[in-house]
């Protein structure tokens, strides 16, 4: 039991901090932070599987997150029938061409021995295929993008329930990871980091600029939700009754009826946003708990031991007959799929898909800081890292503002230094995260909650 003491303590402090935000700022903000903490936790579980279990360094988290987000659009948005009519055929033809290219390349690679001729023929097949693709796709894309460009201008999705897209997001990210893993996993650690970082950038730039796919930088807004809408709640009888019941003591203090009605209205509006966020919290919490149980089981299973053995000494594990390439690929796919799931959850939570907002700073490096700070190789640690770092990331600015005001209070309001510092308060988050990472790396390299090896 002693081992769990610091885990429980760390989590209690975290919950306490979020409650503090609820009391001092507002419950709506606290729940928003909590939801994002949970999403970050899913991402860190994914990254932790790759880094903590297997020692694979994947700086491409941004790419999988974006792909998960794309899945939400592709699954939940209603199909744009007119776009399919004008350009669907070209797009389908393109998919067949891509499949054909892959098969031809595979055939050449399998059939012929390694030679210069083979390399050139593979290159020419790919190049010819790309030119053919462009010729086939160009008229279709143009037609699709001109269908009501202000509102649609893309193919739309399948019109399925949005929760389904979480699975599809994971599958998409997993299959991309299969391709990338095949290409890049043989590389040395720091090469792998750079390669995945750049590949993620390619993926995001494709999502950004292929407008027929998901409107690109024009964004998709008003996505479906697995939770009720605030407007519906505010007009429904049972919800208003519920709010009245909860706040009856406060309402009874108000005498005039019109004031009472006004106060109730305000309460209903506040409560509806809190209620919606609570619904999301419930969903996300379920996902986190399921993932936690599964990953914990996996970690202490023979499979988990095998992964750790490979991580700690590849040669020895290889000598014992473990297939390192296969295991690395598998864990790369699993981790990426979980990150894809998190990406889909995030877009569902926001209700909008903005490819322009995917930047490596926020979606790759911050997630890595979470894993390192929380505790590599320990799922509880990784989740805690997600909570702590996200909390700091959001709350660093208000705290910095408070401190700046405190320390410069003796200066006049118009003092240049003071004004400049107050203006730059939002950037203190980078400083906090950076210094936090450096301190943890230096004085507690195993993270807040270190990896625990249970002797079995």
């Amino acid at each position: 039991m002693r081992n769990y003491k610091n885990v429980i303590a760390a989590y209690s402090i975290m919950i306490f901090l979020i409650i503090l935000v609820g009391i001092f700022q507002s419950w709506s903000i606290a729940l928003t932070i909590l939801n994002y903490c949970l999403i970050s936790a899913v991402m860190t579980i994914g990254a932790n599987i790759q880094w903590g279990y297997a020692g694979l360094i994947n700086f491409g988290i941004m790419g999988y997150t974006a792909l998960g987000g794309l899945a939400v659009v592709l699954v939940s948005v209603e199909p744009v029938k007119k776009a399919w009519q004008v350009g669907g055929l070209n797009i389908l033809a393109c998919i067949w061409i891509i499949v054909a290219i892959i098969f031809v390349v595979k055939f050449i690679l399998n059939r012929f021995d390694k030679s210069k001729l083979r390399n050139y023929s593979v290159a020419s097949v790919i190049l010819g295929g790309i030119i053919l693709l462009r010729i086939t796709a160009a008229p279709g894309i143009e037609a699709i993008e001109s269908v009501d460009p202000a509102k649609t201008g893309f193919l739309g999705g399948m019109g399925l329930p949005v929760l389904f897209s979480w699975i599809i997001g994971a599958l998409l990210a997993g299959s991309l990871a299969f391709v990338i893993g095949k290409i890049a996993l043989g590389l040395r650690a720091d090469y792998l980091a750079i390669a995945t970082l750049l590949i993620a950038e390619i993926i995001v730039s494709i999502i950004k600029h292929e407008e027929w796919l998901a409107r690109g930088v024009k964004n998709v807004i008003g996505l479906k939700r697995p939770a009720p809408y605030e407007i519906d709640l505010q007009t429904s009888e049972w919800f208003i009754n519920l709010v009245t019941k909860f706040n009856s003591s406060k309402l009874n203090l108000i005498n005039s009826i019109s004031d009472k009605q006004e106060a109730l209205n305000q309460m209903v509006i506040d409560a509806s946003s809190v209620y919606v966020k609570l619904c999301f919290t419930g969903l996300f919490l379920t996902v986190v708990i399921i993932l936690l149980i599964v990953t914990q089981k996996a970690l202490y299973s023979p499979w988990g031991r095998k992964m750790r053995a490979i991580r700690d000494n590849e040669e020895a594990a290889s000598a014992m007959g473990k297939n390192i390439v296969k295991e690395h690929l598998l864990i790369f796919i699993l981790g990426s799929a979980i990150v894809g799931l998190a990406g889909a959850m995030m877009v569902t939570n926001d209700g909008l898909f903005t490819p322009g907002s995917y930047r490596p700073m926020r979606y790759t490096f911050v997630i890595w800081v979470m894993v390192i700070v929380g505790g590599t190789g320990n799922n509880f640690g990784a989740i805690l890292g997600g909570f702590v770092v996200w909390f700091l990331w959001v709350e660093a600015a208000p705290i910095a503002l408070f401190l700046i005001n405190l320390f410069t209070s003796h200066l006049p309001e118009t003092n240049a230094v003071r004004v400049h510092l107050i203006e730059s308060a939002p950037y203190f988050r980078f400083l906090v995260i950076g210094i936090g990472l450096l301190l943890i790396m230096r004085y507690r390299p195993q993270g807040i909650i270190p990896e625990k090896i249970i002797k079995q």
């Binding site: 360094i57 390399n119 290409i183 890049a184 590389l187 650690a189 720091d190 090469y191 980091a193 750079i194 390669a195 970082l197 750049l198 590949i199 950038e201 390619i202 730039s205 494709i206 950004k208 600029h209 700073m361 490096f365 890595w368 800081v369 390192i372 510092l421 203006e423 730059s424 950037y427 203190f428 988050r429 980078f430 400083l431 995260i433 950076g434 210094i435 990472l437 450096l438 790396m441 230096r442 390299p445």
Partner: protein, 336 residues
Amino acid sequence: MDFLNAIIVLFNFTVIPALAYGSQLALGAIFVTLIYAVLRFANFATGDMMSFGTMFAVILTYYFQSLGFGLGVLPTALLTIPFAILMMILYMLIIDKFVFSYYRIKKSPPVQFAMVSVGVMFVTQALIRIIIGPSDRRFLDGEKFIIKATEFKEMTGLAEGITLKSTQAITIIVTLIVVSIMFWFLNRTKTGTSMRAYSDNEDLALLSGIDPKRVVLITWVIAGILATIGGVLYGLDKSYRPFVYFNNMLPIFAAAIVGGIGNPFGAFLGGYVIAFAEIFVTYAYKRFISYLLPEHLEPDSLLQLLSTDYKFAVSFSILVIVLLIRPSGIFKGKVI
């Protein structure tokens, strides 16, 4: 005549910009490769370190302008580069003393170094944004053009003109000077040779009496010079915006790896490979072709291989191909 026009179109819209952009990338790539060869880690703070040095140049440029100093037709920023370099080296040495040296003495694996450099990246980025803010700044003054398109047309009587911005000329000239001095230093001086020895085989170098502290110090000094000059040249040519500098890290990495990481000459050429590839693949060849073909064969489409949105993607794809076919880079890496 048409043939000449076609060549000039190509020259004006691809070769000149690619040479300038390639020079900027090359300086950054040599910086990455030098750190990798001597200190043995991939420095993820590259872009932000370049940005940090440039920031001093920008601030000093504004200060000098307010004092009325200047170089006439040349940009004032050139005058501020030595001061900016000094500040940059100071910053790098402080970072090295308090952050990197601990891991170097402990002989940590390169992955840990990379993560530490991510921490340095965050801190540097915060400092930049707190000191100068995230907005877009232009700090170019002096003469803007060396050759204007209209003047060129009048001079030669051709239908197409060549525009040569002064920043492009300065970039190319300064890069050539800096890089040649650096190669002279690495290959001909005793200190340079000791650096190469240290990079090649640390233990043997220590055995033959090379002082590791001195080697590290000199590496940071050279890195500071390269980072600041590269950053300032990029800022003069385009504009100074911290976020863009962070993103520039990616093609710079691509250039360093394509050239063979750890090999400065490879990195130098890698910069140009990446720049030319980016610009040649995303350039619309319509105007070029229409000069060469008879009129009735003129193409309808833009004849663009990929739209300019995929500029970065091109360089990254080249990187992926190089990693697949020849992971050690075009020019064998891992030695200075």
